[in-house]
Amino acid sequence: MIAITINGKQHSLDTEEDMPLLWVLRDVLNLTGSRYGCGVGACGACTVLIDGRATRSCVMPVGAVGEGRVETIESLKQGEVLHKVQEAWIAEQAPQCGYCQSGQIMAAVALLRENPQPSDEDIDATMTNICRCGSYQQIRAAIHRAAGE
């Protein structure tokens, strides 16, 4: 049995240790907001936070999470109240198809916790997720907006 904490809730899971965290979230716990884009850690659609660090869950075996506190996109909204990053995303009209956006938003949340006033260079260096619709300019604007810049 694997003990794991997701969005503040503890779970005891009867799954194999090498199942990537992404598939535990999606298929075992039905938290489908984190998405599959490549399976090899190259695109970031699966990005969650573990102890506040942006992590690509498709290449993180669930057995390796241990006591790390996992946060997914589902944890950002408090009731009906959006996280400031989510509000910024809407204000800047960042999403197009939306498929990569959970990962983008989680990566942005991690960035802003670490660096509340990121420069464009900081954003370039940390926001490495792919957006095939190409809405990078809006994502960048949303991060600056959420930072209050």
Binding site: R26, T32, L82, C133
Partner: protein, 752 residues
């Protein structure tokens, strides 16, 4: 476009043309002269009606609570079409925008998109048609139903559906509501005014909400749409202003349901595997290694796929990887060749003088070239390209009591439903299709090959819903690729810098007709192609043939400008038409073309018409000591005739530029013995935040016919960037992607 009076109707020519359209579709469709624009309404009401709402038209419901629901026969995967189309209807309706909602039309014949047929026929076959002619409505509805037209592609939602359905529908509904008020109040129709979902009769002070009159309006016989005037642009209150997209708020909290996210009671998960050579057939496969693995319940075989069904995705994928299927590729030409060999064949085909089809021709290119003193020729090449949409395919299917239910993504849900019914050998009434959120389309999702394995899995598991999802590897290696192509360009300029001859010979023509046009009034012109040299499965890729002709033509035009000793902008300005000049001048302004760029940088420019819009772009680049390019900025000016939702069009251009830049910098699909080499984003890279250029987008609204917005941003990126590289380093790039070359020396890099 609305026209005064009657159309210049020529029955015999039109009937012939329609007959030809219908025959080309291979259909036995009666000529529906008696079908009116509103004959689909009874069925539409059955399929998509709601209890407290009145369905005034197939595309519109108005609720007792004043809600306005626009039913749109297009999927919106973030390109903003649903919002823009709703804006166009709401504008003509004089609706309160805050009350407007959008619903995607169901995959039912009542919602076949006749507007697409009318636009196609209007633009391509008979340009003088009146958009609202009743007989044309009838015919176009019949044809649309016959060919299952519910396609979102070709940057056509606004210029076809918006212009030919949404606007007339809004005007018609406004008339119906005014007529209802006039009757109710016993006053003349022309004394009834509307604004923000309220009807009023100023003379008496009476008012009514749209919700109050909707029921009465729905009972009135609609007029012939050609009698209804449309609003002049000066009266617009919704269209032309940036409206927030209606689909966005859901997309920031992980909640949108793509087919991958569906969780139905008892649902199983399937992994799929196909022959490494596309379209290879399955011979045999011992299921034992998969069946022995935990969670696996079934191995399903079809003519060209294996599906392993398990209790979750991970287990299904692990199990399918343990199988050793035997495939047969005997009948496949593609299995006996490679992308390198195809390139050789194409390169040979553009030399020599026979067997070409002509796209455009004028004057005498041969004689002019022979006599010219300042002339050049060059051979260009572009590789195959994949769509690499963010979401690898997934479909959920359930086959229960003789009924098939599908949850899919499709750029044409009506066609997907009919194609699925045919594959499942069921009457279409026994197939229900739900179109879910889509993680990127770009043309790939207009075909339905990836739905079929889910149907096989569902049939093998009666009563059980099965979600069949693809790995990125299976998706990328079983694509429908933008074709590779070789082009030979030849041209000559005179002393004044005029292009006097231009010949463009290229391989593998697909679509759009105007993609290979040369917009410089060249008197001696020949654009020609040779087909049938591409053995790899083809598909519509964002901007289609424009994606290669932009690079071929606008790079070579730059070469001609250089041969003429002229500035690339002045060279183009002197020879293009008025709309071209307008966008070129504007893009020069926003890019500071006339001022020197920062040290170490240079700019390149291009001009292209695509999907009815005119686009000029400037790229500003630098090249480092290792010969790698950095694209600092891309400036785009687009003339789409009319801008509906400015913020959204800007986002589409910017996204299309990044799409084109990924192809320009990194994109190449190669294959050997029919097996595609590139399997994941690790082999087929994408532009990310750090290499996404700063972008500025501006508009010119010429008021000419409406052009498309989703694709025109893509074709110009390659030539603008390569023209900038030439200006900076003197290296002329004639093949892509750029990562293959040292851009300081022009040398090809060693194999990657």
């Amino acid at each position: 476009m609305a026209k005064e009076g009657k159309s210049r109707f020529m029955p015999s020519r039109r009937a012939f043309v329609i007959g030809g359209l219908v025959a080309a579709g291979g259909l036995a469709v009666g000529i529906g002269w008696a079908v009116t624009p509103f004959s689909t309404l009874p069925r539409a009401r059955q399929v998509a009606g709601r209890e407290d709402e009145s369905m005034l038209l197939t595309w519109l419901r108005i609720g007792q609570d004043d809600s306005v629901t626009v039913i749109v026969p297009h999927i919106d995967w973030g390109q903003g079409s649903q919002t823009a189309l709703a804006m166009m209807l709401a504008e003509e309706l004089d609706a309160d925008w805050a009350r407007v909602r959008v619903e995607e039309a169901p995959a039912d014949s009542a919602f076949a998109n006749s507007a697409q047929i009318r636009m196609f026929a209007h633009e391509i076959i008979f340009k003088d048609w009146h958009f609202a002619d009743t007989a044309i409505y009838g015919l176009s509805t019949k044809v649309a139903q016959g060919i299952h037209m519910q396609l979102t592609a070709g940057s056509s939602a606004i210029r076809a559906t918006g212009v030919h359905s949404m606007r007339p529908a809004g005007a018609t509904a406004r008339w119906l509501l005014r007529q209802a008020a006039a009757k109710t109040w016993g006053v003349p129709l022309d004394e009834i005014e509307t604004r923000d979902s309220v009807l009023s009769h100023p003379a008496s002070g009476r008012t009514a909400r749209y919700g109050d009159m909707a029921d009465a309006a729905a009972r009135i016989k609609p007029p012939d749409p050609e009698d209804l005037p449309l609003k002049p642009k000066s009266a617009y209150r919704i269209v032309g202003k940036t409206q927030q997209r209606l689909d966005i708020p859901d997309k920031v909290d992980g909640s949108p349901i793509y087919p991958h996210d569906l969780r139905l009671p008892g649902m199983l998960y399937g992994a799929v595997r196909q022959c490494p050579v596309i379209d290879g057939k399955l011979v045999e496969c011992d299921p034992a290694p998969a069946m022995a693995m935990s969670g696996v319940s079934k191995v399903v075989k079809s003519a060209d796929s294996i599906i392993v069904v398990a209790d979750n995705t991970w287990r299904a994928r692990k199990a399918i990887a343990a199988l050793e299927p035997q495939w047969n590729t005997d009948e496949l030409d593609v299995a006996r060749t490679s992308s390198a060999r195809v390139r050789e064949v194409m390169a040979a085909a553009v030399e020599g003088d026979d067997d070409y089809d002509t796209d455009h021709e004028a004057g005498d290119v041969d004689a002019t070239l022979r006599a010219a003193t300042n002339k050049l020729e060059a051979v260009y090449h572009v590789p195959y390209l994949s769509h690499a949409q963010m979401a690898p395919f997934a479909t959920v299917a359930q086959f229960k009591d003789g009924h098939l239910t599908l949850w899919v993504t499709s750029q044409n849900p009506l066609d997907a439903r009919y194609a699925s019914a045919e594959y499942a050998q069921l009457p279409v009434e026994k197939v229900t299709l739900h179109n879910m959120k889509m993680g990127g389309g770009f043309g790939r999702v207009s075909k339905h090959d990836f739905i079929l394995p889910a149907i096989d899995a569902a049939k093998a598991n009666p009563g059980v819903p099965v979600q069949v999802s693809w790995t990125r590897e299976e998706d990328m290696t079983h694509g429908r690729y933008r074709q590779a192509s070789v082009a030979k360009l030849e041209g000559a300029v005179d002393e004044s810098g005029r292009i006097v001859a231009f010949r463009h010979t290229y391989t593998d023509r697909h679509d759009m007709a105007e993609a290979s046009a040369v917009p410089y009034g060249v008197e001696n012109l020949h654009v020609r192609n040779i087909n049938g040299l591409n053995p790899l499965r083809w598909g519509f890729w964002r901007s289609v043939d424009n994606s290669m002709h932009g690079f071929f033509i606008e790079s070579f035009v730059d070469e001609l400008a250089h041969a003429a000793g002229q500035d690339p902008l002045s060279f183009r300005l002197a020879q293009c038409n008025k709309r071209g000049r307008a966008v070129l001048e504007r893009v020069a302004e926003i890019s500071n073309w006339h001022e020197a760029p920062p040290a170490g940088r240079a700019r390149g420019i291009m001009l292209k018409e695509a999907f009815g819009s005119i686009v000029a772009q400037v790229a500003e680049v630098s090249v480092n000591d290792s010969g790698r390019v950095r694209v600092h900025a891309v400036y785009t000016t687009i003339d789409p005739g009319l801008v509906i939702n400015p913020g959204n069009l800007t986002a589409q251009i910017e996204g299309a530029v990044n799409f084109g830049l990924s192809a320009t910098l990194y994109g190449a699909i190669t294959f050997e013995n029919g097996v595609v080499n590139e399997q994941n984003y690790t082999d087929y890279d994408m532009v990310r935040m750090a290499d996404a250029p700063h972008q500025v987008v501006s508009f010119v609204e010429s008021g000419e016919s409406v052009g498309g917005g989703g694709e025109p941003g893509t074709p110009g990126v390659a030539p603008a960037v390569c023209n900038a590289i030439f200006a900076l380093t003197g290296v002329r790039i004639r093949e892509l992607p750029l990562r293959d070359f040292n851009l300081r020396t022009g040398e090809r890099r060693g194999s990657a």
